[in-house]
């Protein structure tokens, strides 16, 4: 009978060893997560996004384009030239364009209508890279910074706003591509991680609020300020979809869905992320 069982001290030793191993693994993970939290906290001290905000403000006020006028008469929804708080009510329906627009789409509109640029030129180079400063990201940084501390308040009173929201919701759950992924695959459940990266649940109010109010963000790993249009574009790349076109209808619909879900939370960007 004793043959098939270990003597008590051996058993205890084996058990202790097994527990130690399991604890080591758990400790390693806990300390990794702690270190990442510390790193994120350290990042908050200074945010290079301010450089983009300043450049964007200069561009907003500088006469440019074929018409040689500034963007100071651009109507972001609260009247010509009103920037303060405008981002917290976007996307929204614009009667002059008879469509729902997000910030970037509206900036393109103003650059075309006020500054006389072609639509293609206004949409060119939306995302910066090494040795490539994107005007659009600077403008986005300036406008969004003017909404810091103001509560998100996206309306769906207009039927076209209501429709855009419903379309965005459908797209959020659209599964496709080689991997069957949808936005909801990674962003539909609380407290999940991809590798060590926390994933916000964008279907809940608190999850959408926390995520949406912290974009745009300066991405330390990329040395770039990234807009919400960029965020969507890069999510779809990882979703194994083709490329989301900048300022496309689908990008506006998804932004409408997520921005409205974030209503009630104070806007807190441009932020800084890993």
């Amino acid at each position: 009978m004793m043959k098939s069982r270990w003597r008590a001290p051996t058993r205890l030793a084996v058990l202790t060893f097994a527990v130690a191993l399991a604890t080591d693994a758990a400790l390693a993970q806990t300390s990794t997560i702690d270190e990442i939290a510390k790193y994120r906290a350290a990042l908050q001290d200074g945010n290079p996004a301010e450089l983009w905000e300043a450049r964007g403000e200069g561009m907003w006020k500088q006469p440019s384009g074929p018409a040689k006028v500034s963007l100071e008469k651009c109507d972001l929804g609260l009247g010509p030239g009103v920037v303060k708080g405008a981002y917290t009510q976007l996307p929204r329906y614009f009667a002059d364009a008879d469509r729902v627009m997000d910030l970037e789409t509206r900036l393109v509109w103003c650059r075309v209508k006020l500054q006389g640029m072609s639509e293609a030129d206004a949409k060119k180079n939306p995302f910066g890279g090494p040795n490539n400063k994107a005007d659009m990201e600077a403008l986005v940084a300036y406008v969004t910074a003017e909404s810091r501390g103001i509560k998100m308040n996206v309306s769906d009173a207009h039927p076209k706003e209501k429709e855009m929201y419903r379309l965005g919701e459908k797209m959020f759950y659209f599964r496709g591509g080689s991997h069957d992924f949808a936005c909801s695959t990674c962003h539909g459940v609380d407290n999940q991680r991809i590798r060590l990266q926390d994933l916000p649940n964008l279907t809940t109010t608190s999850g959408a609020q926390k995520a949406y109010t912290t974009w745009p963000a300066y991405r330390v790993s990329q040395g770039e300020l990234r807009s919400f249009q960029w965020r969507l574009n890069d999510c779809f790349r990882q979703q194994r979809f083709p490329e989301l076109v900048f300022a496309s209808d689908a990008s506006i619909a998804l932004t409408m869905f997520l921005a409205k879900n974030a209503n009630g939370a104070a806007f807190d960007a441009p932020a800084i992320k890993r």
Partner: protein, 208 residues
């Protein structure tokens, strides 16, 4: 007079239908428009063509139930069709090399338009699952697979389940978040076998 009442009823009825349509398009209408809008909002890039937006029946049904488990008859339909399509290895061998399997589990590249179409292509298993305890950077979208074989027993049945699940997860759990690695030609048969070895070989670090 009756005629006038009928005429008025018709006009009011038609108006009600029109208002109804204007205020609340049906769910099917919104789905159709969303799909159409998506297709018009993407452009082909690298290896990711616009055909990636053409949904098969499983993708279509799972999108419709918006992240929730569909009713039982739909679940049965999805699982049955996907199970029937599993291509089992011609040589009958289900286990490859767990060392290769570990590399495939770590590799995150593959099928993105930013990836080299010539490879490498991995399963990126650690993005969602815990496997070997040495790797602490694992995700939690899927369940832990640590000691997968040790806990379930090294049986033919479990080996077959592991192979089938990696090949086509929808065959076992309709609308699972897990990609259909074999079915959708993400991984080759040999790569799927290597992953089965990572899960089922008693010498694999997963089972230590």
């Amino acid at each position: 007079m009756n005629k006038a009442i009928i005429a008025w009823t018709t006009v009011v009825g038609a108006a009600a239908v029109l208002i109804g349509c204007a205020t609340a398009p049906s769910d099917a209408d919104v789905t159709a428009k969303a799909t159409q809008m998506l297709k018009a909002s993407f452009k082909a890039k690298g290896q990711a063509g616009l055909d990636r937006l053409d949904q098969d029946e499983t993708q279509k049904l799972c999108s419709e139930y918006a992240g929730k488990v569909p009713p039982k008859d739909v679940v049965d339909r999805i699982e049955k069709a996907n199970f029937a399509s599993i291509k089992w290895p011609a040589d009958g061998k289900l286990l490859g090399d767990w060392k290769n399997g570990e590399k495939i589990a770590q590799e995150g590249r593959g099928k993105q338009y930013s990836d080299d179409p010539k490879g490498p292509v991995g399963g990126n298993c650690y993005a969602c699952h815990q496997l070997a305890p040495q790797e602490v950077s694992y995700g939690t979208i899927g369940p832990t697979l640590y000691q997968f074989g040790k806990l379930r027993g090294y049986t033919d049945e479990t080996r077959k389940y592991a192979y089938g699940k990696v090949w086509n997860a929808e065959a076992y759990s309709a609308c699972s978040t897990m990609p259909r690695f074999g079915h959708s030609q993400i991984l080759s048969e040999a790569q799927v076998k290597d992953l089965v070895a990572l899960l089922m070989d008693p010498n694999s670090p997963v089972n230590k």
